[in-house]
């Protein structure tokens, strides 16, 4: 489903080039759930962005859904994201000018689905926000916003879901509920899940874990994140 080899990422900073990823090779099978952990600033988000085709690596190759995204142009990658990729972010990334329903409808509308409204309502209902369709993000709590984001991520029936610290901005109880929702939907739809987190409980629920240390991936320490 998702594969990369010898992935490197170097960015220019004021203090000179910064080598964030130093050669990452990885293969994730369809339907798998993977947790990527690592210290803050270790490059987790950078890796996720590359795997999802939001950015290009300095070197190395990436395949998503049997297509090499490192050989695609931005438009082709956009098409691929539309068909295969869903996102959940730490900071929710809902559009403030749109209601909950409209936020979920957005990917469906972009892909030209005529039943966007019905589908979006269904997913919002599924995450327990049926009565809050017309609320704007700033009228919702953090947990509710993240549930909207989850509904949006699943709305397009992606084959891979990338979640970047989905509970990072939430308290423990709310975070736990979000995790439940995420995994329930994942089970129902059979989506591949790539989860970036620093939360033990979340990582534990994945089939296996990887840790990003010093720009390289290594299996997560069993005592830290048992598979």
């Amino acid at each position: 489903m998702l594969r990369c080899s010898a992935l490197e990422k170097t960015v220019d900073t004021a203090e000179g080039p910064l080598n964030i990823l130093k050669g990452i090779t990885l293969e994730i099978k369809a339907g798998d759930t993977v947790a990527i952990t690592g210290a803050s600033g270790s490059g987790k988000s950078t890796l996720l962005g590359l795997l999802a085709g939001l950015d290009l690596p300095s070197s190395g190759r990436i395949w998503l859904a049997d297509q090499e995204i490192t050989a695609m142009n931005e438009d082709q990658r956009a098409d691929l994201r539309m068909r295969h990729v869903g996102f959940v972010f730490q900071s929710f990334q809902l559009l403030g000018s749109l209601t909950a329903l409209e936020n979920v409808m957005l990917p469906l509308e972009l892909s030209g689905r005529s039943d966007a409204k019905e589908a979006a309502e269904r997913y919002l209902d599924r995450v327990g926000l049926g009565p809050r369709l017309t609320h704007y993000p700033n009228q919702l709590s953090g947990g509710e916003q993240q549930r909207v984001a989850i509904a949006r991520a699943f709305a397009n029936s992606p084959s891979v879901l990338f979640a970047d610290e989905p509970t990072g901005n939430l308290d423990t109880r709310t975070g736990a509920r979000i995790i439940d929702t995420l995994f329930e939907l994942n089970r129902e739809t059979g989506t591949t899940l790539v989860l970036v987190t620093h939360e033990q409980r979340l990582a534990e629920r994945c089939r296996y874990g990887l840790e990003l240390v010093d720009g390289l991936l290594q299996p997560a320490q069993p005592d830290e994140a048992p598979c």
């Binding site: 962005g49 939001l54 931005e74 438009d75 994201r81 539309m82 996102f87 972010f89 000018s97 972009l110």
Partner: protein, 826 residues
């Protein structure tokens, strides 16, 4: 359509209102003002109805060749004809010297006549003169001749029936040459009277009316044939005051629309930029969700197009309403329905909208296009300082082109743009330095002031830019207020109450004492009595005028026309020497000195020291030009092109002229005056003065209305500017409150912060506006410039109050909402 749905959502969220409003205002101003200026032009035409009964008049001392007149028909012009002369009217044993106008059946080409059957009775309008065999008399004549409507009067060898009482005629305004009282007859009856003999003084007027192009083309054709005896007149020649009032109003409105468009353009640029910045996140998210860059950008472009259409529709409707209101004002005065303006104003509005969107709203939107999807992880991506120069350059060039297009004056536009750029850049730089300097000074000031200063200093460049932008808006507003004020003042000064409204001409030297005594008895104040000698300027430096004109390839609008010469020991009031010097009392030179009016001197290219030869009766008089003199022709006093020192003209036959003010209710005094001094000509100017006042009043109202529109634009710029800076402030202030700052402190600091920005903007604006107004008044409006000391108060005050107020009002909600919500939302 997805773009429409997105647009509707953004609209509901209030994101687009400012942009659309700014666009609508730009369109409204352009449509409203250009439609109205078109109507002003029609008003000018109907003014000419009033004053010359035609669009153009060819004035001649002899009948014009028939083929000249027929030539007019080839240009699609209608024509008419009048002949004016003085003649004795006789009824029984009564006789009265009367100014008679014989008119062709097509007279009047423009405007209508008003007649009645009994003196003071109800009047009716007609669009033709008297039928053959009829004569129409002014009411004043009935008692003089002791006749009534239906009676017969003799004129020359004919007897004509008094058909009606003449109440009003369209070209009565051209009264200077006519002799009161007055009568109208048919041109066809003229030969039978046998009044017109070779050598008798008749003035033939050939009237033309038709489309402006035809008139111009015909004049070109005719020009080559005209001899110096002929004069080609339009309203500008006969009614310079009305024409100049309308001209100035026209120029003011053009200036207003130019500034309005500039202001609206700035508001559009700011709000589009904010709109675009607020969509960076949305763009990144949508790219993440799989939207292609081109497609997403297309969505935004479509939105822009819809906004353009919406703004245009709203603006066109508003503009139409504005012009409708203005035209009602104008119609109430013109009395005629003005033609509905055509599609041109709408097209101009559409063009303006398109250019505004393309030049001001598109560049910020282009920045949106390249927002990387990775921004969802790193908020700062795409925020890095985009090079603003290309957008600013595009905006500036388009603004210049737009202003040029609207003002039709490249020099004005360039100097305005350049002047604004230089002063504002200098002002901005100064503010920047000041901000950096005060950083150290205010470090230990307390409370709100320190907070405000800290906030200003946190983003010195952005705040300096904001100051410059506000300064620009305030400057444009100040300019318009200045020009308007001095325009109105100028108009009021031109015809103050009590302006002389009657001239007494043809007073013999020995009558002066009697006239003075009589006027004194009636308690009527007259201006001085000025001597008047009829003469003709025939040669300049020994060359005949005719030859000189030919040599200089000038067309013969100015010719050796008859001039009224006068003498005076002192420089008359309202005259000022522009070149040379006025003579000292008692000095005699040979050849005698002469002072020439500057305008005529310009037309005939007369310079200081030139030798002028005059023909006065059968004699010639040589003189030397020793001064050029500017005359205020608007003051309704006797004014002269040529003034000689006293005694030079003593030996020539001369009469005197004076002017006086007569309130309307005392007009009947004239009957007694004419009876007492039958040889003195009374020239009535009161109707003209009333016209000019009417034009000025209506146009003034129009100008006020337009000013409000422009104020709306300026406020919009302020609002857009404040809102653009609010996004940052909301975050910062929420944080401050979270950290424990009290509401009072925050509102106080916001007030101070915005007021300080406004104050700085106001000072710069006052300086820039003063500079610009000096330029306008001197160069564009042809008015004299006087500094405006109160600008220096008004500018900063206006800035502080407006910007402070708008800022405070727009930020008010920041302190009402719990800080938690704000922190969440950002």
């Amino acid at each position: 359509m997805l773009s429409l749905r997105l647009l509707a959502r953004d609209w509901a969220a209030g994101e687009l209102r400012l942009l659309t409003t700014a666009l609508a205002l730009a369109v409204a101003i352009v449509v409203g003002i250009s439609a109205f200026t078109e109507q002003l032009k029609s008003a000018l035409v109907s003014e000419s109805n009033r004053f010359i009964a035609a669009d153009r008049v060819l004035m001649a001392p002899n009948p014009a060749p028939e083929d000249w007149l027929q030539g007019a028909e080839a240009y699609g012009l209608r024509r008419g004809e009048t002949a004016r002369f003085a003649s004795m009217l006789v009824a029984g044993d009564r006789m009265q010297l009367t100014g008679v106008k014989a008119v062709s059946p097509s007279y009047p080409l423009r405007g209508r006549l008003e007649i009645s059957d009994t003196a003071g009775g109800p009047s009716r309008t007609v669009d033709h003169g008297p039928a053959t065999g009829e004569i129409w008399l002014e009411a004043r004549m009935l008692p003089l001749l002791s006749v009534n409507v239906g009676d017969r009067v003799e004129i020359g060898e004919s007897r004509l029936r008094v058909g009606a009482i003449l109440v009003k005629e369209p070209d009565r305004g051209d009264a200077f040459f006519s002799i009161a009282p007055h009568a109208l007859m048919a041109l066809a009856d003229l030969p039978a009277t046998r009044i017109i003999q070779p050598g008798s003084r008749v003035r033939y007027n050939y009237l033309f009316a038709g489309p402006e192009k035809g008139l111009a083309a015909y004049h070109d054709w005719l020009k080559k044939r005209l001899t110096p005896d002929y004069r080609w007149l339009n309203l500008r020649d006969t009614q310079p005051r009305v024409a100049s009032a309308l001209d100035r109003a026209d120029r003011f409105l053009l200036l207003a629309s130019t500034l309005g468009v500039a202001l609206a353009g700035i508001a559009i640029a700011i709000s589009a930029r904010r709109y675009s910045e607020r969509h960076y996140d949305a763009m990144a998210v949508m790219k993440c969700l799989g939207g292609r860059e081109g497609r997403l950008f297309g969505l935004y472009l479509q939105q822009l197009l819809f906004i353009g259409l919406l703004g245009f529709a709203l603006g066109a409707a508003l503009g139409w309403a504005v012009q409708w209101g203005l035209s009602i004002l104008l119609e109430s005065y013109v009395g005629d329905r003005l033609p509905v303006p055509g599609w041109r104003p709408l097209a101009m509005g559409g063009l303006t909208a398109a250019v505004c969107l393309a030049a001001f709203a598109l560049p910020p939107l282009l920045a949106l296009r390249t927002i990387p999807p990775l921004r969802v992880f790193r908020r700062d991506l795409g925020n890095e300082r985009r090079r603003a120069w290309p957008a600013i350059a595009v905006g500036l060039v388009s603004l210049t082109l737009l202003m040029w297009y609207h003002s039709r004056n490249l020099q004005l536009t360039l100097s305005l743009v350049l002047g604004a750029c230089v002063t504002l850049a200098a002002g901005g730089f100064l503010v920047l330095q000041l901000l950096r300097w005060t950083r150290r000074r205010t470090a230990n000031a307390g409370g709100a002031l320190r907070l405000a200063m800290a906030s200003l200093q946190r983003h010195p460049l952005r705040n300096a830019l904001q100051v410059v932008m506000f300064a620009l808006a305030i400057m444009l507003l100040l300019i318009l207020i200045f020009v308007r004020t001095s325009l109105l003042k100028d108009w009021q000064r031109q015809l103050p109450p009590g302006t002389p409204n009657h001239f007494l001409v043809n007073i013999l030297p020995e009558q002066i004492a009697d006239v003075r005594a009589w006027l004194g008895e009636q308690r009527i104040a007259e201006t001085d009595f000025y001597p008047m000698v009829r003469g003709r300027l025939t040669e300049i430096n020994g060359t005949s005028i005719e030859e000189r004109m030919k040599r200089e390839q000038r067309h013969n609008e100015v010719q050796d026309r008859a001039l009224n010469l006068t003498w005076s020991g002192d420089l008359p009031a309202d005259n000022s020497i522009r070149d040379g010097s006025w003579w000292k009392a008692g000095t005699q030179t040979s050849p005698p000195e002469v002072s020439v009016e500057t305008h005529l001197a310009g037309e005939l290219d007369i310079r200081l020291g030139d030798r002028l030869t005059f023909q006065i009766g059968p004699e010639t008089l040589e003189s030397r030009v020793t001064s050029l003199r500017k005359v205020d022709w608007d003051n309704m006093r006797p004014n002269f092109y040529m003034i000689f020192p006293p005694t030079v003209l003593d030996e020539y036959a001369h009469t005197f002229i004076t002017s006086l003010y007569l309130p309307p209710e005392r007009k009947t005094v004239l009957n007694a005056f004419v009876q007492r001094f039958p040889t003195i000509t009374v020239v009535e100017m009161d109707a003209i003065i009333a016209q000019v006042r009417g034009v000025v009043r209506q146009v003034t109202q129009a100008i006020e209305l337009v000013l409000w529109l422009i104020i709306g634009c300026a406020l919009l710029v302020l609002l857009a500017g404040v809102q653009a800076s609010i996004d940052v402030r909301i975050g910062e202030n929420a944080l401050l409150r979270a950290l424990g700052a009290q509401r009072r402190l925050i509102t106080g600091s916001l007030w101070l912060e915005f007021s300080t920005i406004g104050l700085a903007a106001g000072v710069i604006a006052a300086f820039a506006a003063e500079l610009a107004v000096w330029y306008f008044q001197e160069r564009v409006m042809e008015m004299s410039y006087a500094p405006h000391p109160w600008t220096w108060l008004l500018g900063p005050l206006l800035g502080a109050v407006l910007v402070g107020g708008t800022g405070y009002l727009s930020c008010r909600h920041i302190v009402r909402v719990p800080p938690m919500r704000l922190l969440q939302a950002t």
